[in-house]
Symmetry: C5
Subunit: 181 residues, 5 copies
């Protein structure tokens, strides 16, 4: 139980850094390619978070496909001053789509490291569900949950700490924790 004595990282630092005179900015970037308006779902969730348009505001952009997300997210951080970005896309179901998703995800990973700023990759694979209505609900749920995660990362990191190792999922039900004995 040593953890309670450990130093808590001050996750509001980036928030402060960006909030001199203007509001903290959260970026939302989505694609024409996806078959669901993931960006809208993320924006809807952010709109019901505390401080919407007061403490923070939302910047949006749409790009052609998921491979275009990384540089767009990077520019939202470096040029638009976003403190975090939610990058939403839908890889298709063919093998080559998996490879493309890999390239897109690697780009998002690198953009985070180049900027030192989190970019939440929110991908729904077209083959995660065969029923279009189920798939649509995965799009809606995962986009909203990660928008909430972005909010927590900036403003309520203790919400994340509280759920450490709890098998939390976005899009489907939580998996729950395992027991040692």
């Amino acid at each position: 139980m040593a953890k309670k004595n450990s130093d808590k990282k001050d996750s509001t630092k980036k928030q402060k850094k960006g909030s001199k005179a203007k509001k903290v900015r959260i970026g939302v970037v989505d694609t024409m390619f996806a078959r669901y308006d993931m960006g809208q779902a993320a924006c809807d969730e952010l709109a019901i978070c505390p401080g919407y348009n007061k403490t923070f505001k939302v910047v949006t952009q749409t790009v052609p496909g998921f491979k275009d997300l990384a540089v767009a997210a990077m520019n939202m951080i470096e040029e638009d001053g976003c403190s975090i970005v939610i990058a939403l896309g839908m890889p298709g179901s063919a093998p080559i789509d998996k490879q493309c998703a890999h390239e897109a995800a690697q780009g998002i990973m690198q953009a985070q490291l180049f900027t030192g700023t989190p970019i939440l990759e929110v991908f729904v694979h077209e083959d995660e569900a065969s029923d279009p209505k189920v798939l649509a609900s995965v799009f809606e749920n995962r986009s909203r949950k990660h928008a909430r995660n972005a909010y927590w990362m900036l403003f309520e990191p203790e919400q994340l700490r509280r759920r450490a190792g709890q098998g939390i999922r976005q899009g489907f039900d939580d998996a729950g924790p395992l027991q040692l004995k």
Copy 2:
């Protein structure tokens, strides 16, 4: 419906940056390896976009194969002042070709992040259609559609926003959006 209130990113910024005295530049780089003149198709589409050779002009280059696209595109941005580049290539159908396509795509991804500038990767895989005429039409259509996307990204970002989550495709018919209920 919170999105309508959100901040729209000003996508014409790069355009302005590059347009002090000279025209905005759009780069088109293609290969000897491809079995279709993809660069010509992209140039043909750009030639019918508003402002061609007035607001913007096109810079072209041809390299041996698709692995040579990334550094060429990067140099078109850094040395020739392009605000966006369309990188066109054709991976073959063997397993090793998929791996090479992966390397080429990763390079294009990194070139974007190194320059902070979009490079639209336009790849037509040789095995996307068995009928040569169908394949040729995929080459023509995808090259043109992405050239149009490049134009939109610089000059009409609202065209992209309007199509967010609509299952838009290049080369084949659009997939269309899914319904939540």
Copy 3:
């Protein structure tokens, strides 16, 4: 037996660099996604290492999933002054999970190279054991062993040297060394 004459790298350098007035910091970053509180296990092990809260202290953070570990670890080094970070996560068992694990691991690799600082990637794959209790013990054991490795790397590098080529494992039993003859 030439090695005994070779130069021993002074592994306490980083320690000194970070310890002017304040304690050396060890970072522990874990996820909500994992089904075991890996961060707690790592912290428990560090709490029984010599010098805990005297020579060194522990900084913790929780992120949503394992793809969020890399930039978080990087920031714990660059902003919080950690001399080493333990990054703990659980990839799922589906093929796409392996791909995501690959992306997460590549990010952690790059974060190390960008910072010049070790980040110990501690991943337990959900399919390493079918019995939940066995899997839980792998989580506990591997998290603790790598926490101890982190401590050794900073303060007792001779512990590592002594075990070179000995087939040491974390999570399962050691494999042991092979004999030439």
Copy 4:
């Protein structure tokens, strides 16, 4: 037919940059691992290009295996002043060899982006032909063709432009272009 009106990128820029007082340099790096003297084939082709040892000269190096090509090529650019490098290697036929080839190719890709200079990756996979004599001819032909490509990229870019989309190959016969109708 808009392309004819477009701006031609001046590909001789790098040449000029490097040719103040001294000759342009073309790098050739090969391996001990390959089963054919690819570097010699490339050098033989360059020796019959116009301006050999007048306009340009050739710098050579041999490394152990193809994973050692990337940093060697990078240093030939940054330390020896090469304007382009031809990197020649032979991946083996086992699955692990394909993975190693992937790593080597990624390194060559990154070296290009780090230096802003083309490095032509010339790999002959050991399983491209079962007949040793056929395989040897692939080695010879591909090494020479890419050496010629390197020369064209620096001195005669119109040779590349003229062949855009023509299905040009190195090592085997050209595939030729597809027809739209």
Copy 5:
């Protein structure tokens, strides 16, 4: 036979750079995970190279596993002044081990490009031989051969040039060259 007239890259440059007042340094980094003391084998070979402890000396470090090699090797170059590093590790035989080996190898590749300095990746895959004694001999032989390669790269590059395209192997017998006719 044009090659004989070409410029030979002066491979002793790095050596000179590092040898103002102090000896050239060769780094050797190995792991606890491997089942053979690869670092010792490399050091034994270096100890019988000309100039050992006169012209050059050896710096060693041991890390937990092969994913920890890249940043360690990078620091041996940047902080300890090594002119080349030999990075030795043993990936396991499961599919996930191949993926981890890939990540480790990519890291070593990037570390080379970040530092502009060669790092010889010496991996022995646990499934290269089923007989433990044969496998042990692969460990010993490959580690020694690459240590010798490192020495040649710094001090006798003509040894490499002489073997270009000769199908040289480490760990197993040489494959030999193919004949064109």
